[in-house]
């Protein structure tokens, strides 16, 4: 950017000023505005600053008391006047940029001076059209940022500040501003703050999720065990019930019903067996009884047979029977019957007669009659004896039959009893089993009840712990999120800080390099010095050829040169191409040094538009001569004091 012209209206003593500046071509880049002290040289400088940045930097005590507006103008217009500064510039592409600032001043009811806010206007050429810029402040800050104005618009007499104690800070600031790392700085501050806030937030979250998880896990394991237990018990229950069902089924199908039948059967059989036994016994007894009669007959069979034979022999020989047997007679007597059939009685002597007959025959003692008497018996006995075998065999047969039947019934009875006892046994066993199964089932049911209760408890516990876990996880989630946020900020912060450091370092080096270049270019005795440095702590240092620190021993002029070199380095590094406006560049320097500097200055500030506001003292003929060919325009400020204020004019020389 270069300034083409400046117009002041009512700016302090400059009621109406319009001056042109030299363009930095054809080697005539200097514009000189000369004024004696106190005239308002600095106010002109301030006017430019005010126009651009709405502030004045170098105000005298007096001027501070005065309003910005030219007091005379204000009075003349009866408290309604405006200050205006217009700067016409050209950008890099030679397009016109008009920057102007206006401010209204007026009297209030008490005749106090009041001012309206100043207004910045910018008009520039865009696409061959002159456009009023809608955000002039913003555009201006892009074109000529305020932060670096001091390296383009500066007071030459204050350059020494760079070498004072505070100088290091100023230099650091300069580097800082020039490197535009205020952005990074802000980023660093803001990221830091954000990071802190995340850390603070996280401090309140102390996730105990893991602990809860463990609780849940062990409770879950216990629950699982209980459930398995329950399953097992349920299986037992099912089995037990099945067993009971089976037994009931068995009982239903067999023993009890049969037991009844079997018992009946047993009773019946027992009766039958007894019957047979009775029959057998009776038969035996009968036989025995008969035996008593039969046995002797058979035992004496020989005798019987013998007697039978004798009788038969006698019969054969007709020795028997006798005529009448006494037996016959005895029988008659027994019957009390006569031979003729008449009843015997004592009355008629019939019985006695027969008795006498008997005696007669008894006396006969005839063997034959005796034999005849027994003949019948003997024959009967003999026949009976013959039949004995048959009789006995029949007896035996019957007996055996009965015994067989009895045996059969006995066997049946035994079987029945066996069955009964078996069924009794089985029944007892079934009953026993039933009882034990029932007891078992009772126990299992109890255990099942316990397990169910415990399971419900565990499930509730797990549920509540899971809820707690969810909360904790949310906390944890938040915690992790905050941590990640913190980490992002921390990492970015680290990088930003590193970048800041690097950039500052690089910029510092760059400035150092250029300062050194400029210094050795500008200084008239370069061989006296070896090096110019900006230390880590941002202090300028100059190394004497001897190697010693020379800063402290530099002359005023040398210091000025150093300062100018530094300024130049800075505005070179800044990347901005702006005019340099310097107020009293050669003020406190001795004559010779001034001459030296003046000699080198043009070359040094080559291709830059330079506006120098000089005092009479510093703009000596010598300086004038030295600068001469580079000066395009020369102006003078003349001030006229009036009652109400002053009016300064800038006249071309």
């Amino acid at each position: 950017m270069i300034i083409e012209s400046i117009k002041l209206t009512n700016f302090r003593q400059y009621q109406d000023v319009d001056i042109m500046f030299t363009k930095p071509d054809k080697n005539k880049s200097f514009t000189i505005i000369q004024a004696p002290n106190g005239v308002g040289k600095s106010n002109f400088f301030n006017a430019i600053i005010w126009c651009l940045y709405d502030k004045e930097i170098y105000l005298t005590k007096e001027d501070k008391r005065l309003p910005l507006i030219n007091t005379i103008a204000l009075k003349e217009n009866d408290g309604n006047s405006e200050v205006k500064v217009e700067i016409k510039m050209r950008d890099e592409k030679d397009r016109p940029v008009f920057i102007s600032r206006e401010q209204n001043f007026y009297y209030d009811q008490e005749r106090k001076i009041k001012k309206a806010p100043s207004k910045l206007k910018m008009v520039r050429e865009i696409n061959k059209n002159m456009i009023v810029v809608s955000e002039p402040e913003y555009i201006l800050s892009q074109l000529m940022p305020e932060t670096i104005k001091e390296y383009f618009f500066f007071d030459g007499e204050r350059l020494d500040n760079y070498f004072k104690k505070e100088g290091a800070e100023s230099i650091k600031n300069a580097v800082f501003k020039i490197s535009q790392i205020d952005l990074l700085d802000k980023i660093i501050i803001h990221l830091s703050e954000k990071r802190q806030s995340f850390v603070r937030e996280n401090k309140n979250l102390t996730p105990v999720a893991d602990k809860i998880r463990q609780e849940i896990e062990s409770a879950s394991k216990a629950l699982e065990t209980s459930k398995q237990d329950l399953d097992e018990k349920n299986r037992f229950l099912v089995e037990g019930k099945k067993n009971i069902k089976e037994i009931l089924e068995k009982i239903r199908k067999n023993p009890i019903k049969n037991a009844k039948d079997l018992k009946e059967q047993r009773i019946n059989l027992e009766e039958e067996v007894k019957e047979y036994e009775d029959k057998i016994k009776e038969l035996e007894l009968d036989f025995e009884e008969s035996l008593v009669n039969l046995a002797p007959k058979i035992l004496i069979h020989n005798a019987i047979e013998n007697t039978k034979e004798i009788i038969e022999e006698k019969e054969k020989r007709k020795e028997i029977p006798p005529g009448i047997t006494d037996k016959y007679i005895r029988k008659l007597l027994e019957k009390k019957e006569c031979i003729c059939g008449r009843i015997l009685s004592n009355k008629d002597g019939s019985e006695d007669n027969l008795k006498e007959l008997l005696n007669r025959y008894k006396n006969l003692s005839d063997l034959g009659s005796i034999l005849l008497n027994i003949k019948t018996d003997i024959e009967i006995i003999f026949r009976e004896n013959s039949k004995f075998k048959e009789t006995y065999l029949n007896y035996e047969k019957t007996l055996r039959e009965l015994e067989k039947k009895r045996e059969e019934k006995s066997k049946l009875l035994k079987k029945t009893i066996e069955k009964l006892s078996l069924s009794d046994e089985s029944f007892a066993k079934y009953e026993g089993d039933l009882e034990s199964f029932n007891t078992e089932i009772e126990n299992i049911n109890m255990k099942i009840g316990e397990l169910k209760a415990s399971i419900v408890n565990s499930e509730q516990f797990i549920k509540s712990r899971n809820e707690a876990l969810d909360d904790e996880l949310k906390k944890e989630k938040k915690f992790n999120l905050l941590r990640r946020k913190r980490d992002l900020c921390a990492q970015t912060l680290e990088i930003a800080e590193r970048m800041k450091k690097e950039i500052m370092e690089e910029t510092k080096e760059e400035i150092e390099k250029r300062t050194k270049e400029q210094f050795f270019q500008l200084i008239w005795n370069p061989s006296a010095f070896k090096d110019v440095k900006i230390d880590e702590d941002y202090t300028l240092s100059v190394i004497h050829a001897s190697g010693l620190e020379a800063l402290g021993s530099l002359s005023a002029g040398q210091r000025q040169v150093l300062a100018l070199s530094f300024i130049s380095a800075i505005n070179g590094v800044s990347g901005f191409n702006l005019p340099i406006i310097v107020d009293t560049p050669l003020g406190r320097i001795s004559k010779d040094t001034r001459s030296n500097i003046a000699q080198k200055l043009p070359n040094f500030l080559k291709n830059k538009q330079v506006v120098m506001l000089v005092t009479d003292e510093e703009y000596t003929t010598d300086v004038r001569k030295k600068l001469g060919s580079y000066v395009g325009k020369e102006y003078e400020i003349k001030l006229k004091e009036f009652k109400n204020g002053g009016i300064a004019k800038i006249i071309e020389k």
Partner: protein
């Protein structure tokens, strides 16, 4: 001499015991039955078993209590023992019977009373009787 009206035995107690303590004579328990069977047993075993009566003999069965067949049997035994002529001596006939019965009683006692299985004698008896009856034509 007084005409005999009864048969005698050594000891009436024997008859009592047999009647009371044996199965065989539970029902048919007249002295006459016992006498006859004792006589028959004694006869069967042979003359060795004739045992004369002792001095203190006791009357056991009145002759009138014997059945006809019993008497016939007694005579048959006497005939076998001493020949046909014995029939003239009534007393002797009964003595023979008594002596056989005496022996027989002892046998009965032995078989039926002393520790024997009830029924085993009967079986023995039956076997013997069968034997005999088989030989009968």
């Amino acid at each position: 001499m007084k005409k005999r009206d009864r048969v005698f035995c050594d000891n009436l107690k024997d008859y009592k015991i047999l009647k009371e303590e044996t199965e065989l004579f539970k029902r048919e328990n007249t002295n006459s039955s016992i006498f006859i069977i004792a006589m028959a047993l004694g006869f069967k075993e042979g003359k060795i078993h004739k045992t004369p009566l002792k001095k203190g003999k006791e009357g056991v069965v009145r002759l009138t209590y014997f059945k006809e067949e019993h008497l016939s049997m007694i005579k048959a035994v006497a005939i076998m023992d001493s020949g046909l002529d014995v029939l003239f001596d009534e007393d002797k006939v009964y003595s023979i019977a008594e002596e056989y019965a005496n022996g027989g009683i002892k046998m009965l006692k032995r078989e039926l009373i002393a520790n024997k299985e009830p029924g085993s004698y009967i079986k023995k008896l039956c076997t013997e009787l069968l034997d005999i009856s088989r030989k009968i034509a």
